[in-house]
Symmetry: C2
DNA sequence: TCATATAGGGATAATTTTATCCCCGTTGTC
DNA sequence: GACAACGGGGATAAAATTATCCCTATATGA
């Protein structure tokens, strides 16, 4: 990504976890790649709300962090595929845990949001 | 927080989870409060790298999201305590999962960072 | 010949998050 | 009287993240 000016705190496990999966589309990307959606264009079709640009940036970071491997086939038109590394695969249980918590408490959360709106 | 202009996607469990615990100090705050550190000044002492300002903002959001309860004692000098709600307590296993993953892979991660620096 | 699909990225702007600085009022202590 | 501790927050700046727009290049099919 761009050059960062505030050093990260790497002593805390949580900050490392968030450094790796904290991007807006990273969990989705990891999930999709794990499900076999490997090509950039397919990933983009799978997440139309994200820009190609951002997906590329995030994929680059995931690659830099050792979560995915990028394979460029020397053909034309170009073909690229991303694969989850073994390291990246260790994230899957964590991601589903986070996803599950959010889904379980989505009703609670949305209820709160509605009440807040009424109060305002 | 400030007024947001880009609507959040509330269909995805992951986005709700990150909405709730995604702030820079939120997991630390939840963790500290769960451990019995309840007063704002104590929380600040516990996380000196964070500003009082940011801690207040984050605590406010945690309160709005129903994760903590704020109790203001009508005394002088003022006394305030935060408590984890039952809802907030359901976050604890998730947070320790994230914390554990980060700690487990901290060596791997730091090794990668070193190699990247050498390459540059 | 022209549109489309493929993968990528530069330049810049908008948005969001976090940091910095300084202020308020009260009580107790030196 | 001066000062620290308590909890809080306004105004503003910096930093980080994400969005928008447009361009490169090649091959295929209409």
């Amino acid at each position: 990504m761009y050059e960062k000016k505030i050093p990260k705190d790497l002593n805390c496990g949580m900050s490392i976890t968030l450094e790796i999966i904290g991007g807006k589309w990273k969990p989705c990307l990891i999930d999709s790649i794990a499900k076999g959606i490997r090509r950039p264009s397919d990933l983009h079709r799978n997440h139309p709300d994200a820009t190609k640009r951002v997906l590329n940036l995030h994929l680059k970071e995931l690659e830099d962090h050792g979560v995915v491997t990028k394979i460029i086939y020397p053909v034309l038109p170009p073909k690229v595929e991303y694969f989850l590394t073994d390291f990246g695969a260790t994230l899957l249980p964590l991601i589903s845990h986070m996803e599950k918590w959010g889904s379980d408490y989505m009703p609670v959360f949305n209820e709160l949001q509605r009440n807040k709106l009424k109060a305002v």
